[in-house]
Symmetry: C2
Subunit: 497 residues, 2 copies
C-alpha cells in the first residue's frame, strides 16, 4: 500500500482541539507524549518485545471495549448457522443482499433517531469528513436508495451496528451487535409488502424453534389518532408514544402516572388513552374500533384501521393469524415509522432457561417508514418502505443459555464435528495435522481422543502403495482401508449428523 | 432497549474541546447549534419530512465517506462467492473462525504498526473508554490469544478493517476493506506452519484462476543480517527496510539514492546492500548465501537461511516450488514480523484488463510474528505465530474489471440466476411476487421477460385442484405441470449452472 510520508502525516494530525488523539492517549509515556511518532513506535519490534518482557511497554488493560465481546470458534460457528438460516429465508422471498459501509457521514445519521441520536458513536475529526458508526441498517438503506435513485428494491442486509447504549450482555444487549434486515422499497398495492414482512418473521421464528411466540402489530396512524381523540396536543404525541411503549413491562397505573407526571398530560386524557391502549385482539377488535364513535371520526386512525383490516386479510391467506395480535400498546421507539409497526416476542416458559429467554424481550421488529428516503432525496421524492429486523443477538443468547444445558448441543456438535486428522499426509488437504516432522502414530491417536477428533486417516508406506487410506474411528478404534477416490464421500458420510 | 434520560445524555456530552460533535456539526442550524437535542430531532418525523420536501431539513451531502463504497446486489453476490471460496480453503486446512469487535481499545492498537499508526481511525471520547477501529485482524488476534490464554490455535477471520490511507479505489485500495486472515499460533516444529500458509496462498490463487502468480518469500532475520554485514547501524534497520521494500516499483538506482539521501546510509553500505537485495532464486540461492563469507558469519542471517532451506524442502513436498521465489528485496511494511515474510503478486498480462490487474499489486501477504502476543500477555509470555492475509478487495476489483468485458459473467450469472416468480401463490414461499392483488397473467410473464427471471411457476384453480404447479420457461415459453413435492428439486435442477 502507498504510505504517507511522516511530514504529510504530521500535517494531517494538527490538533483540532485539546487532546485530539494518540498523542494524548499515550500520555502515560510522560515527556514523550507530545512527540511524533510515539516513542514506542520508533524502535524495532524485537526491542519493544524485550521491553515488554521486562515489564516496560506492556499493554496495561487487556479487554474488549465495554459492551463488545469476542466470539470464540464454537460461538462463531453457532452464530453463522443462525445467520444462514435467516438469510436463506430472506433469499426464499427474493431479496438480494447489499452492503454499505460501517462508517457514514454524521450528517446522514443526525435527526433520524429522535432521542436515541445521543447513542451514536462519533469518530474524531482527523482532518477529513465528520464520520459516525451506523446506528442501524435502515437509515443507510434509505441513503443508498436516494443516492442511487432506486425506487423499487427488495433487499436484505446482515451486518453489525453500533449503539452507545447501556449494555446488558446477559440479555443479549451489546454495543456492537448484528442486525438481520429485510426491507421492501417501492410503490405497491397496500399492505402486501407489509404482510410479507410479517410472514418472514413467522417463518424464521418457526424454523428456529425458539418456543411459542406472538407478533404484536399496530399502526403509528392509529396511535396518533388515539392521542388526538383523547385530547393530546400534537407536540406531545412522541413523549406519549414512548410512555405507552412501556406497557409491556409495567402496569397501566405506572404508565398513567408517568403520562400525567413527567409528560404533563391531563388526567382525563391519560384515562381516555388507557381505555384504548390496553386493547388487543384480531379482526374483531379492528371492526369494533372502525365503529368507534370517536376514532372513526379521525382521518389518520381511520386510514390505519382500514389498512390493518386489509393486513389481517392477507395474514389469513398466509394462515398465520393465530400468532398475530393487534395490540394498541405497541409503539416502537424510533422516529421514522409512519404506518404499520410490529414486534415479535417469545411466550412460553417451559423451564428456567426459556424463562431467561423471555427476559431478552422482543426478538424481531419493524414497520413502515414512507418518509425516510425523502429526507435524503435532493428533491424530497419519497420512496415508501417497509422492513423487518431480526434480533439475532438476542436469539443467539437464548440458544447460548440452552447450550449450557446441552439443549442445542447437536447444533454445536454439527458445527464442530467435521474434524479429521490426516497423519503423515502433508501433500493432502489436511483438516488438521500435528506439526511434527515424524510424529509417533499412537501419540497422534491420543491427540485425537484428547481433542475429540472423531476420525483419523492413516497414510503409511503400504497405504501409499495400495492407493488407499486407512480410516480409523477414534472412539471405537475400528479401522478400514478406503480407496483414495472414495475417501471424501466416506468421510462426509461418517460426519453427517 | 433501556434509554438514557436527556439529562444524563447532556452530562455525557459536555464538550471536551472546541467542536466535539453533533452540536457543532449541526452548526449550520445557527442559533440551535448549542441546544440539545438538535432542533431537527424535536419534531415528529412527518413534520421533518414535510420540511424536507419543502427544502428545509434536507440532507446536503449525499455520499458514502471518502474511500468507502456501497456494494449493490450484483457486487455483493460476487464478493460473497469469492469469500466462500477462500473460507472453504481455510476450513479444509482445519481452521476455526473467530470474531472480534471492530472497536478495540486505542491502547491495544498503539505501538504495533510503526509509522502506519497514524492511519488508525480514532473515536471521539464520548465519556467512556478511548476507542479506535481495528487496523488489521492480526493485532486483535494476538490480543485474543493473550486475553484468553490460548497458546495453540489455528483460526481464520474474514472481516472489515479500517485505514485512513490515501484511497486508490480503481486499484482496489479502500479505507474500509475486507481482510481474509488465516493464522497458526503455537510452538511447533520449525517451518511446518509457515509452509502450510504458503500452501494455502497457492491453493486459493490457483482456485480463483486469476492468471499466473508468484509468491515472493524472504525472512526479516536475513534482511537484518544483510543490513548488519553491510555496516548499517541497527537504529536504521527499519528505514532501510522500508526503502528496500520499494524495489518492486522503482529501479535500484532510485532506491540507492533514497538510502543515501533521505535515510542517511553511507554510499558504500548502500552499494553492498544492492548486491544482496537484487538477488532472487530458489534452493540454489539459499545454498550460495549459506556459503557467503560475510552472511554466514552473521547469527541472524544464518538462522534465517537455515529455516529458509527447510521451508523450501517442505514446499518441494507440497510440489509448489515453481511458484515460489526467494527474493531478498521483499521487506513488508509492518513492524511486527520477526521471521519469514511473503507476498503473492500476479504476473501475466494476457490483455489490458489483466494488465489493470497487475497494477493492483500484491494479492496476498503475511509472515511470522513471534513477539506480538507477548506484548499483550501480563507476564510477557510469547506465543509464536505465523499467518497470511488474502487481499480479497484487490482480487475483487480484478474480477470486477473482467466482469466489464463479461469474462467472469458466468460467476455473476450464477449469483443472480436463482430467481423465480411464483404467480398467485401467496401461500407458497415465493422467491419473487408482483405486489398486485390480482395481477394479469400476461403482465406478470412480461415482468419476467423484462427483469430476466428465467422461471415462472403458475398456480391457478386447476393446478391447485391437481396439486401441481405449472412451471414455465420464460425464454422458450414451454410450460409443464410439476407435482408440488417435486417442484423444488425441478427448480434447482433447472437453475443449476
Amino acid at each position: 500500500m502507498l504510505r504517507l510520508g511522516p511530514i504529510a502525516a504530521a500535517a494531517r494530525r494538527l490538533p483540532a482541539g485539546p487532546c485530539p488523539g494518540p498523542l494524548c492517549l499515550a500520555g502515560s509515556r510522560g515527556s514523550f507524549a507530545r512527540s511524533w511518532p510515539p516513542a514506542g513506535d520508533r524502535r524495532p519490534l524485537f526491542r519493544q518485545v524485550r521491553a515488554a518482557a521486562a515489564g516496560g511497554e506492556r499493554v496495561r488493560v487487556l479487554k474488549t471495549p465495554k459492551g463488545t465481546r469476542d466470539h470464540p470458534p464454537a460461538q462463531t460457528a453457532l452464530r453463522d448457522r443462525l445467520l444462514s438460516a435467516v438469510v436463506s429465508c430472506f433469499k426464499r422471498h427474493g431479496a438480494a443482499a447489499i452492503d454499505t459501509p460501517v462508517l457514514e457521514l454524521r450528517e446522514t445519521l443526525m435527526g433520524k433517531y429522535g432521542e436515541d441520536t445521543k447513542l451514536i458513536y462519533e469518530l474524531q475529526d482527523q482532518g477529513g469528513e465528520l464520520l459516525a458508526l451506523r446506528y442501524d441498517l435502515t437509515v443507510p438503506f434509505a441513503r443508498y436508495l436516494a443516492m442511487n435513485k432506486v425506487t423499487n428494491m427488495k433487499r436484505y442486509h446482515v451486518a453489525k451496528v453500533y449503539r452507545r447504549d447501556n449494555p446488558a450482555t446477559t440479555r443479549g444487549r451489546y454495543r456492537e451487535f448484528y442486525q438481520c434486515d429485510f426491507d421492501i422499497a417501492g410503490q405497491f398495492d397496500p399492505m402486501i409488502p407489509d404482510a410479507e414482512c410479517l410472514k418472514i418473521v413467522h417463518e424464521i421464528l418457526s424454523d428456529l424453534q425458539l418456543g411459542d411466540f406472538i407478533i404484536k402489530v399496530n399502526d403509528r396512524r392509529i396511535l396518533n389518532g388515539v392521542f388526538a381523540v383523547c385530547g393530546v396536543p400534537e407536540s406531545k404525541f412522541i413523549p406519549a408514544c414512548s410512555t405507552v411503549d412501556k406497557l409491556d413491562k409495567v402496569p397501566w397505573e405506572e404508565v398513567r402516572s408517568e403520562m400525567v407526571g413527567e409528560k404533563g398530560l391531563s388526567p382525563e386524557a391519560a384515562d381516555r388513552i388507557g381505555e384504548y391502549v390496553q386493547l388487543h385482539g384480531g379482526l374483531d377488535l379492528i371492526e369494533r374500533l372502525l365503529q368507534d364513535p370517536k376514532l372513526s371520526q379521525n382521518k389518520l386512525a381511520k386510514e390505519g384501521l382500514g389498512d390493518m383490516k386489509l393486513l389481517f386479510e392477507y395474514l389469513t391467506l398466509f394462515g398465520i393469524t393465530e400468532k398475530i395480535s393487534f395490540d394498541l400498546s405497541l409503539a416502537r421507539g424510533l422516529d421514522y415509522y409512519t404506518g404499520v409497526i410490529f414486534e415479535a416476542v417469545l411466550l412460553h416458559q417451559e423451564n428456567e432457561h426459556v424463562e431467561e429467554a423471555v427476559s431478552v424481550g422482543s426478538v424481531a421488529g419493524g414497520g413502515r417508514y414512507d418518509g425516510l428516503v425523502g429526507m435524503f432525496d435532493p428533491k424530497g421524492r419519497k420512496v415508501p418502505c417497509v422492513g423487518v429486523s431480526i434480533g439475532i443477538e438476542r436469539i443467539f443468547s437464548i440458544l447460548e443459555q440452552r447450550l449450557e444445558v446441552g439443549d442445542a448441543g447437536s447444533a454445536l456438535g454439527k458445527a464442530l464435528g467435521s474434524k479429521i486428522l490426516f497423519i503423515r499426509s502433508l501433500q493432502l488437504h489436511s483438516a488438521e495435522m500435528l506439526y511434527k516432522k515424524d510424529p509417533k502414530l499412537l501419540k497422534q491417536l491420543q491427540y485425537c481422543e484428547d481433542t475429540g477428533i472423531p476420525l483419523a486417516a492413516i497414510v503409511g508406506e503400504q497405504e501409499l502403495a495400495d492407493r488407499v487410506v486407512k480410516l480409523r474411528d477414534v472412539a471405537t478404534r475400528e479401522q478400514v482401508d478406503i480407496p483414495r477416490e472414495k475417501l471424501i464421500d466416506e468421510i462426509r458420510r461418517r460426519l453427517e449428523p
